[in-house]
């Protein structure tokens, strides 16, 4: 990656900075409708020029996962607003966009199916499928509790939110007659390569994917998109480099947003506050081709969080709608699961009058606990006590109305990660499969290597992702990359030390730098690594329904803070996203299927004036890995929304069932009207 100071000074090398003299710029004609027959298209490159289907690659992709084979371009049917239909070229961006006017599309608009609950039993959202339910699972164990004092039910919802990194998607593809090179900002160069190879049926050796400086991703940039296949195909066909940069409007309508979950939940509890069971019907709005269809089952798996709830059973479905595919967004199922659990716990607090912390402590795990869904957690009671002690909950609760939350973070450590270390001319270069895209992986790479190898950290460079420089790799998502990346890094460092010993008789930093070494390892990883987190928030709301956040606090077990300043800034950034989801972030369509957000501001992202600060604490209970770290990146988007929603709920004296919590929702709930 570029040096951080260079990035701040505008000297980073992002995707739009990649340029070639004879480069072709492309622009897309996209469906104006959420659902329409395409009667006729004239002009530009069309579906027949890209005779491929989209591969499933990146976060959560597995061979078994059912998902539809989406076309690269729509030909006879548009299944969502913004679906690409035709591509035009130009010698610069202006010309390409001028040429959009030369493409004619005749549509026969159809009634769009936008609501996932409605889509369960409606006509197919795309022709040729039997059911819109693309993933249908029962998770946990059926149970019957007939002697509960309280059975509480509620319908809870997180609306869709855009991932909205400041740098949108983009790609530059070039072909030299034998090899296709693709530059793109990404969370995983290898996923993009594998996706392109699978879609276009190319051997892996013939495609090189190079990561550019990446201006945020948040789940968006883990996989491959139709636009990347188009750019790659045209680069090979035209024998000229091809560039595409996404506009914000395209991002909002045609990249993969996150959330979009409804849960009809039921808890069985005793007057003492003891929760005996939880069940629910969990429905994910998967979009037109059933994107991230794994997420409904994944949400169900972890609903019980840090609590020892003995019975749990969920019906988890991912349902196709006439919207762009859903994708992972910072947390990717974890925040949704926690929202469903914590909202029901708060409801139980209100019904029983039991204090929010007492109720959570009562239901926390006192010993190791395996949930009916198979999730195994360490005892959580001690952590929850320490967290709220540190955040001063008891004192605040005496005079104020804090909202709190407790949760589990399950990082996606499975399958491990790769690393390569090259020592040459007294400098050390490092490649990781889990690339950095704003998280400053370079800091812990430098500090761990400096400590392990006994060298000056300033000679170490963390390189960007590049499939020609690193054989295989997974990617950065699911709060995994420091855990599995640092593990691989230390393993490769040990290999290098061994090589130095073999060559020079003994290891020293000096001996190391006197020679050339190059080692690689893919450190596989089975099993899981669950950690706990907790949040607290205080907020006020006025008669207009406007919310003012007064205080936010976080307390997370990070295992070991590999780079303490990054821990704090990760919490800060995630808290802004968590608060944004609660206060305003939304991708809403009107009844005709037109998207109501055309700009970054419309989509509800908090600006610097609105963004709340957060007081961040962490504790360090080392994990089983040699570096001791646990997950972190997604913790604030899990813990902040639930605590903040509760704080708003208490300040306004209403029940909140949905994010975002708009001023109108607050006012109408206060006035006793249903939403």
């Amino acid at each position: 990656m570029s040096d951080i100071v260079d990035i701040i000074n505008g000297k980073g090398r992002f995707i739009d900075d990649i340029s070639f003299p004879d480069m072709v710029h492309i622009a897309f004609v996209r469906s104006n409708y959420s659902r329409a027959k395409i009667l006729h298209v004239n002009g530009g490159y069309l579906a027949k020029d890209f005779p491929y289907f989209m591969a499933s690659a990146g976060e959560g992709a597995t061979d078994e996962e059912m998902s539809l084979r989406a076309p690269v371009l729509a030909s006879t049917y548009a299944a969502y607003l913004g679906e690409p239909i035709a591509v035009v070229t130009g010698k610069n961006r202006y010309e390409a966009e001028d040429n959009l006017e030369g493409v004619e599309v005749d549509y026969d608009p159809l009634n769009p199916i936008l609501d996932p609950e409605e889509a369960i039993n409606s006509d197919p959202v795309i022709p040729g499928v039997r059911s819109n339910v693309i993933s249908d699972r029962f998770v946990g164990r059926p149970f019957s509790i007939t002697d509960a004092d309280l059975v509480l039910e509620d319908r809870l919802e997180n609306r869709r939110v855009a991932t909205n990194p400041i740098e949108t998607r983009g790609v530059v593809a070039a072909y030299d007659g034998s090899k296709l090179t693709v530059w793109t900002p990404t969370q995983s160069a290898h996923s993009v390569r594998d996706g392109i190879c699978e879609s276009m049926n190319l051997p892996k050796e013939s495609v090189r994917v190079i990561q550019t400086d990446t201006g945020g991703a948040f789940g968006l940039k883990g996989g491959v998109y139709p636009e990347y296949i188009v750019a790659s195909t045209l680069a090979m066909k035209l024998k000229r480099p091809v560039k595409w940069i996404e506009t914000r409007r395209e991002h909002l309508m045609a990249s993969r947003p996150g959330r979009g979950v409804v849960g009809r939940m039921k808890i069985y509890a005793m007057k003492t506050g003891l929760i005996r069971g939880i069940s629910g019907d969990i429905i994910v709005d998967a979009g037109a081709y059933g994107g991230a269809s794994w997420s409904s089952g994944w949400i169900a798996y972890q609903v019980t969080g840090p609590y020892a709830i003995k019975e749990a059973y969920f019906h988890a479905r991912s349902v196709m709608t006439n919207k762009v595919d859903q994708g992972p967004y910072r947390g990717a199922g974890r925040p949704e699961a926690s929202f469903l659990m914590e909202r029901m716990i708060d409801l139980l607090c209100d019904e029983t009058g039991i204090d929010a912390l007492d109720l959570r402590l009562l239901n926390s795990a006192k010993d190791r606990f395996k949930s009916p869904t198979g999730m195994e957690i360490e005892p959580s009671a001690g952590f929850i006590s320490r967290a709220f002690e540190k955040m001063g909950y008891r004192q605040l609760a005496r005079t104020d109305r804090p909202g709190i939350s407790a949760f589990v973070l399950i990082p996606a450590v499975a399958d491990g990660e790769s690393c390569r270390i090259r020592v040459k001319n007294g400098r050390i270069s490092v490649w990781l499969g889990g690339v950095t895209h704003g998280q400053r992986h370079d800091l812990w790479v430098k500090s761990l290597l400096s400590e392990k190898l006994g060298i000056d950290p300033s000679i170490v460079t963390l390189e960007l992702g590049d499939t020609d420089m690193l054989r295989e790799g997974v990617g950065t998502w699911g709060s995994r990359s420091a855990i599995v990346g640092a593990n691989a890094l230390l393993k490769v460092a040990a290999k290098i030390m061994e090589s130095v010993r073999k060559k020079t008789g003994s290891y020293s930093g000096k001996n190391l730098l006197a020679g050339d070494y190059d080692e690689y390892e893919y450190a596989n990883e089975k099993g899981s690594l669950i950690s706990f987190g907790a949040n607290l928030a205080l907020a006020d709301s006025d008669d207009l329904g406007n919310v003012k956040i007064r205080t936010m606090k976080a307390y997370y077990d990070v295992g070991k803070a590999l780079a303490p300043q990054v821990v704090i800034s990760q919490i800060r950034g995630g808290a802004v996203q968590g608060a944004g989801q609660v206060l305003s972030e939304n991708l809403e369509y009107d009844r005709d299927g037109q998207l109501m957000a055309a700009t970054l501001s419309d989509s509800g992202v908090l600006n610097s004036v609105q963004a709340p600060d957060i007081e961040a604490f962490y504790e360090e209970n080392p994990s089983r890995f040699p570096h001791g770290a646990k997950g972190l990146g997604e913790s604030p988007t899990i813990g902040v929304p639930t605590a903040l929603v509760r704080a708003i709920e208490r300040s306004a004296g209403i029940r909140i069932r949905k994010t975002p919590v708009t001023p109108e929702n607050i006012v109408s709930a206060k006035l006793g009207k249903t939403e």
Binding site: E97, D98, D543, S584, M596, S601, D602, N607, P660
Partner: protein, 293 residues
Amino acid sequence: MGMTPGNFDYVRVSSFREAARILSEEENSKILAGGQSLIPLLKTRIMNVDLLIDISGIKGSGGIRQEKKSLEIGATYRVGELEGNSLAAESFPILHDAASSIADPLVRNMGTVGGNLAHADPGNDLPPVMVALNAEFTVLGPKGERVERSAAFFKGAFSTSMDHSDTLTSIRINQKDGNVSSAFVKQRKSAGDFSLASVASVVELDDSGNFKDSRTVLGSVFPAPMILEGVDAYLKGKKANSETIKKAASLVRTQINPESDFFASADYRRHVSSLLVNNALTTAVRRSGVNIA
């Protein structure tokens, strides 16, 4: 789908007269001032023009002047300049209220007072403010200069009494004698920059603390600013206290008939409008030196 404008020509003029001449010669031309609304429309190609006539370089087209009994604001005076002008804030606190709450500092540094008015976006904040102040707009057209009353200027969404070859050149706000004060408050849409509703209020109190005169204007709820005549009629002659204001504000709920749309229900618009009337009047009266709860 793009983010670059189509082809257009650009001319930077040195006088409003030159702008008016070119405007009447070129059919598909448009005045460019701060560009905060126009440029995004061009970049998304929602609008296409053949010629942009940039008036921001006209000498004396901006600036603010205190005359004997009025304040004269040049059309290209930046919103950010207005925000920072203590003279304007002192004479008409409502101007500072509005200028400091428009979008964000980046937009305010470029956006102009004239542009905010002439574009007549229902979500804009200066239109109701100018109507409340009973401002006069100087408009230059092919037949020369004319003066338009702000209340007659705004016709609907993006629609004013100006036609294609007219240019707004300056705004005059007359100062009334007596104990006059003002306030502007707004509610933003839950996401985005624009107002869902706003209220601009100018009040005059007599020596015994009664409402002598007032103008209360609702912005952003309807396509054009709406003078709440029922509120003003109710206030006239009554004691300027919180009961009077509360009662006046409650009248709004029955006196307006907004629509429900994607951004808000009619009920919420009524609720917000009523509360904003209450808040604007309360602030304006307090600024007159009357202590009210």
